[in-house]
């Protein structure tokens, strides 16, 4: 049979020895213990700061703006992702990275408009629609965040995609 044996050990410090033989080793351990208390204080402070911050600015995941889009792109391995935003800007780059995570395993080919399907994430819907017209594409879906899904009939790469899937009207609206 499997034996489980437990024993009890003591973790007491020999106080007398600690005080009488006070060596550089002990100085180091005391300093390290003080450092631990300081660390704990700063971690508590940071935690309080974050809790306060979350009360004012709730956690947001920019990738949520792209949820549900994959339903319209079932078997498409790669689509274009067009943006006129500056990707050196932290927020725009974060949005692109999170979009890629949410839509995986669909690959987002940044600023390549030669794919059959295109996601447009522009500074305004007007700019996005101008781009759609410029490349001769057709806007299929848009959501409240201004993300537009378009189909480019002149694309050089075609994939077996689906645009007939039923979609959640609360999340996405048909372009008029």
């Amino acid at each position: 049979m499997l034996k489980v044996r437990s024993s009890v050990y003591s973790m007491n410090i020999n106080k007398t020895a600690f005080l009488t033989n006070f060596t550089p080793k002990h100085i180091f351990l005391v300093v390290a213990s003080l450092a631990l208390l300081f660390n704990l204080y700063s971690l508590l402070k940071e935690t309080k700061r974050m809790i306060k911050l979350r009360d004012h600015i709730p956690y947001t995941f920019l990738g949520d703006r792209f949820r549900g889009l994959d339903k319209f792109l079932d078997a498409t391995p790669m689509i274009g992702y067009y943006t006129d935003k500056n990707l050196d800007d932290n927020r725009s780059a974060r949005q692109f990275a999170q979009a890629q995570l949410v839509l995986a395993p669909i690959i987002l080919d940044l600023n390549n408009t030669h794919h059959e399907f295109l996601l447009l994430d522009c500074t305004s819907p007007k700019v996005a629609m101008q781009k759609v017209q410029e490349i001769g594409a057709q806007a299929l879906k848009a959501n409240q965040y201004g993300i537009i899904l378009a189909r480019n009939p002149n694309a050089s790469t075609f994939h077996k995609g689906s645009t007939n899937t039923t979609f959640n009207p609360n999340q996405y609206q048909q372009i008029p």
Partner: protein
């Protein structure tokens, strides 16, 4: 269900370690458990990788069956191999001091978990690299090799897959690939790394102050946040520490099987990140060098069988790394050799900047003075830091830092200030547990007992 894969992996690892160390001097329960969990998760990751290698897609039934077979075999083996199976663990005596320490540790762990919960989807590399790869591998079917497309250069297609595959294994047990599994993995590795550090020092010194470095590591806000935001650096840190601790214990206990364990951890290390592969190669070179040296001087038989088992473990656990690099990895697409490039040469100014940046980083307030504490420890530790028990740790740290700094200098693809600002602190975090192990281990081993005067 979300905890099931972690429990299966942990049990496999624990049973395997128990089996390996059955007839040798054992490790303390905490150290053995922590090493076991890391071992189990590494094995699960590799089993998942073999599904892609053999079936060219994720085959959940094959992965779950392989785990079930392994688990059953290990349970049966406990009864048939060697002595009667037994699990020994020690509980602290109930005293005010011990209770206070327990409450203190629990409080710290809850704060660490809280840091992870502030960012449930993790940090930048979690979205762009690790969780993205995991989700891709889970959902892409037979198209999984699209993960190595050049369009995905931002996700570093040449990075190995140990962490994503652990999360894929976890997601096999959940209806959706949500953010909880990567969060659990991340927090688990953070806590395991701190625990491994402390339990290994306890094993060496049986000193209550062994707890200090593990807690010090986890309580620096920068580290606790970084370690719990689903990056791979903490995973690298854990396997690096596990590899060296197993090797140190193997030397101390003259145990061949602990050397095998060290080889396995080194193999897992090579599958974490490209830095992990470099670290594994350095460890390998150091170990072979040390073995040859020992063979020339002493312990001839032990050193030779030791080397064989280390290499066996290393080869077994490095097969996925080898297969990944030979068959799938598109290679590093973000490399310019500054030594030969005329457009982006590696200049002396670049080297100076790297060294200045490193010094500024080490004395930065964000570390809460931890590097200064280690510097103080260097002065206290003195010769104890450079003896035969610490030679591998010391040698590794010197060589590894040298290689990393040289790489920063030679690869001129990135603008150096930006590159250092986003990556150097993470490399330092992944090395910090090893630095703490080295310095605290040396200091705690200093004997403080006064030598009685000689009687004539």
């Amino acid at each position: 269900m979300i905890a099931v894969p972690f429990l299966i992996s942990s049990t496999i690892g624990f049973l395997l370690i128990t089996l390996l160390l059955k007839n040798t001097q054992s490790l303390n329960f905490y150290l053995k458990s922590i090493l076991g969990i890391g071992l189990g998760l590494g094995i699960s990751s590799q089993i998942t990788f073999y599904s892609f290698l053999f079936f060219n897609k994720l085959l959940p039934s094959a992965i779950i069956s392989a785990h079930a077979i392994l688990l059953t075999a290990l349970i049966i083996a406990q009864f048939f191999v060697g002595q009667e199976p037994k699990i020994e663990f020690s509980l602290p005596k109930v005293t005010w001091l011990n209770s206070a320490i327990l409450i203190f540790t629990a409080m710290i762990l809850s704060l660490v978990i809280k840091q992870g919960l502030f960012y449930p989807d993790g940090g930048w590399d979690a979205w762009q690299v690790w969780n993205f790869k995991a989700k891709f591998l889970l959902l892409a079917g037979e198209q999984w090799q699209n993960l190595f497309s050049p369009e995905l250069w931002r996700s570093s297609p040449h990075y190995p897959l140990l962490l994503p595959l652990i999360n894929v294994w976890g997601w096999l047990w959940t209806p959706q690939p949500g953010n909880t599994t990567p969060l659990i993995t991340s927090i688990l590795f953070a806590v395991l790394t701190g625990g491994l550090l402390s339990s290994a020092l306890w094993e060496q010194n049986k000193n209550i102050f062994s707890l200090l470095p593990g807690l010090l590591f986890l309580t620096v806000p920068l580290i606790s946040l970084q370690a719990t935001t689903q990056y791979c650096d903490i995973v690298l840190s854990f396997y690096l520490l596990a590899s060296i601790i197993s090797l140190t214990q193997a030397q101390k206990q003259q145990s061949n099987l602990l050397t095998l364990l060290s080889g396995l951890f080194t193999g897992f290390l090579s599958f974490t990140k490209p830095e992990g592969l470099i670290a594994a190669l350095i460890l390998n070179v150091l170990f072979i060098g040390l073995t040859l040296w020992k063979r020339l001087r002493q312990h001839k038989d032990f050193a030779w069988s030791n080397a064989q088992l280390f290499l066996l473990g290393l080869v077994l656990a490095s097969l996925p790394t080898l297969a990944f690099n030979v068959l799938y990895s598109p290679g590093n697409q973000t490399f310019v050799n500054g030594l030969t490039s005329t457009l982006k040469p590696a200049t002396w100014e670049r080297f100076e900047l790297i060294m200045v940046f490193l010094l500024m980083e080490l004395k930065s307030g964000k570390w809460n003075g931890l590097w200064l504490l280690l510097l103080f420890g260097f002065f206290i530790g003195g010769k104890k830091l450079w003896n035969k028990n610490t030679i591998i740790t010391a040698g590794f740290l010197v060589l590894y830092l040298g290689v990393i700094l040289t790489y920063y200098h030679i690869n001129t693809y990135f603008e150096i200030k930006w590159w250092l600002s986003v990556s150097l602190y993470r490399i330092l975090i992944s090395l910090l547990p090893l630095f703490l192990f080295w310095v605290f281990g040396s200091i705690l081993s200093i004997s403080t007992e006064k030598t009685p005067p000689k009687e004539d």
